[in-house]
């Protein structure tokens, strides 16, 4: 029997007026997956997370997290969730240690060994007042507090903001371990490479509406394919533009890059009328996918 989704939203709406907010979101996040939530600023990513934690209430629709309604069962949810807000703020006068102690007390205590291991892993400075810490060092404290009680679900809003590449690497490794333990991660980002590196599935959000929810693998399957063809002599790029299914053609000397949808047959046959030195398929990256969804929605 399959386990129920960790997050389920049904027509979840938060209308701030003037077209701002989140509108009719239906989403499921499964247990043990690292789910990426992608979108430009103001798309509704943080709004969704705040709704899930009952920091704000929906205008209509509902959401369930770990089996509990986000409004009626918020206390049970918050016990089992670790949260890193996108605009992390901590008490500036406290040291990192005191801040973590305080947040641990709000949870009724955490295992100090887990906390210390996270502090060491991220190289967090917990003995200086928070007001003296850099953005990156504050973010490390944010990550420690989110993970230190070993929650079943982690809701992380822009988690790598301000982190140096080494700490980012350490964080991504931790996400892998957490997922392997069957715990779930719901993270937002506008750093496409991060989402590409760590997520199992992703959702693209634009102007408060879900544009697509799928695995990166599936998104790539339906994506525009590109092939780079190196000829022995320069060829006329217009030969390819006229072909069925071709969406774009770039010529650079003896090399022509062709983007197309559907079968590659026409492109291959057209290329075969010339001497072909090399044929290199180019995988569409997440940025291309993201921008394509973004543009198609803008055009709609």
């Amino acid at each position: 029997m399959s386990t129920p989704p960790v997050i389920v939203t049904s027509g979840l709406t938060k209308n701030y007026g003037s077209g701002r907010g989140l509108f009719g979101m239906d989403l499921e996040v499964r247990e043990g997956e690292v789910f990426g939530f992608l979108g430009p600023n103001g798309a509704g990513k943080s709004t969704t997370m705040r709704l899930l934690l009952d920091l704000i209430r929906p205008t209509s629709g509902s959401a369930r997290v770990l089996g509990h309604d986000t409004v009626r069962g918020s206390l049970d949810i918050r016990r089992r969730v670790g949260f890193l807000p996108g605009d992390l703020a901590l008490y500036p006068k406290l040291t990192g240690r005191k801040m973590l102690d305080y947040l641990a007390q709000l949870r009724g205590g955490v295992d100090p060994r887990t906390r210390d291991a996270l502090v060491e892993r991220f190289g967090a400075d917990i003995d200086r007042p928070i007001r003296e810490l850099s953005t990156g060092n504050r973010q490390k404290l944010g990550l420690v507090q989110a993970f230190m009680h070993e929650p079943e679900l982690l809701i992380l809003d822009e988690p790598i903001a301000g982190l140096d590449p080494l700490v980012q690497q350490s964080f991504h490794a931790l996400l892998g371990e957490v997922s392997a333990q069957g715990r779930t991660v719901f993270l937002s980002s506008h750093t496409l490479s991060e989402v590409e590196r760590v997520t199992h599935r992703l959702a693209i959000l634009r102007q408060g509406q879900l544009v697509v929810v799928d695995s990166l693998e599936n998104l790539r399957k339906v994506a525009v394919q590109r092939v780079e063809i190196e000829f022995a002599e320069p060829v006329d790029a217009d030969e390819f533009r006229a072909l069925r299914g071709v969406t774009e053609v770039h010529a650079d000397g003896r090399t022509v890059t062709v983007g197309f949808e559907g079968s590659a047959d026409a492109v291959v046959k057209a290329a075969a009328t010339h001497e072909v030195l090399a044929l290199r398929p180019r995988e569409e990256d997440l940025e291309d996918i993201f921008l394509r969804y973004y543009r198609s929605e803008s055009a709609a």
């Binding site: 949260f83 605009d87 008490y91 949870r107």
Partner: protein, 260 residues
């Protein structure tokens, strides 16, 4: 009530509270020291009734009137009210605007329990300042040559504490209910100043005399605690108003979205 929240809120505001308490103590000692040399001179001045009322209506020629005008009417409520109002609005709406509350309330703590804990912390701040006032009164009156009983000095400190509870609870209710620090601070301060003016001027106009009952100053010092001791009705009214306003804040924050 959440004990960790109350302890941290108290701790973060302790330096300001201790400074204010020491400052009040020093002012009261200085006021007491001035009395033997200037009290009788000022006491012979004829001031308009309205001005006298603004200054507590005391007779400057006596040490009770001197302290009533200098401390009970102005310094005491000003310091304790300012600290209670700024503390209550900062610990609720201020933390919300600074985005700290969003992180705290992502933890398993109910919003109304958080507000109750903040209320306890502000009450602690008020008590520290009231204690400083009480010690300051004892020192000041002794330096000024004595003349006010310990019970009456204690009564002023008690009334002052309840005045602080009420003004702090108003700022807490506004801060927790709206999440807007400037609104909470400004509106609570405005109510305090308006209350002071109403209590001073309303009794001068027969038809408006009833308005004094709307002022927290009436319940705080309307019965002159330095002369008559604790005004039980005043303490009860200020206490009930404080509890009611705290309840308003606890309910208000449960019924709205966090702003940041």
């Amino acid at each position: 009530m959440s004990l960790p929240v109350a302890k941290l809120a108290l701790r973060l505001r302790l330096p300001a509270a201790v400074s204010a308490a020491i400052g009040l103590l020093a002012v009261m000692a200085a006021v007491g020291a001035l009395f033997p040399s200037v009290g009788h001179t000022i006491g012979s001045l004829k001031v308009p009734k309205s001005v006298a009322n603004l200054l507590g209506g005391g007779d400057y020629g006596t040490i009770t009137g001197w302290f009533r005008s200098e401390i009970a009417a102005i310094y005491g409520p000003l310091v304790i009210g300012a600290l209670a109002i700024t503390g209550a609005s900062a610990t609720t709406a201020g933390e919300e605007e600074d985005r700290i509350l969003g992180l705290v309330l992502a933890h398993p703590i109910r919003r109304h329990r958080l507000v109750a804990a903040k209320a306890v912390a502000i009450a602690g701040i008020v008590l520290i300042v009231a204690l400083g006032s009480w010690i300051g009164l004892i020192v000041g009156v002794a330096v000024g040559g004595g003349g006010i009983t310990l019970a009456h000095m204690t009564a002023l400190a008690v009334q002052l504490a309840f005045f602080g509870f009420a003004t702090g609870a108003l700022a807490l209710a506004l801060g927790a209910g709206t999440g807007r620090r400037s609104l909470a601070t400004g509106a609570a301060a405005a109510v305090g100043i308006l209350g002071w003016l109403i209590n001073s001027f309303a009794p001068l106009v027969g038809a408006l005399d009833w308005m004094k009952y709307l002022s927290p100053f009436y319940y705080y010092a309307g019965h002159d605690p330095l002369t008559h001791g604790v005004y039980i009705v005043g303490v009860i009214v200020l206490g009930l108003v404080s509890l009611a306003l705290t309840a308003v804040g606890m309910i208000g924050i449960e019924r709205r979205d966090l702003r940041a």
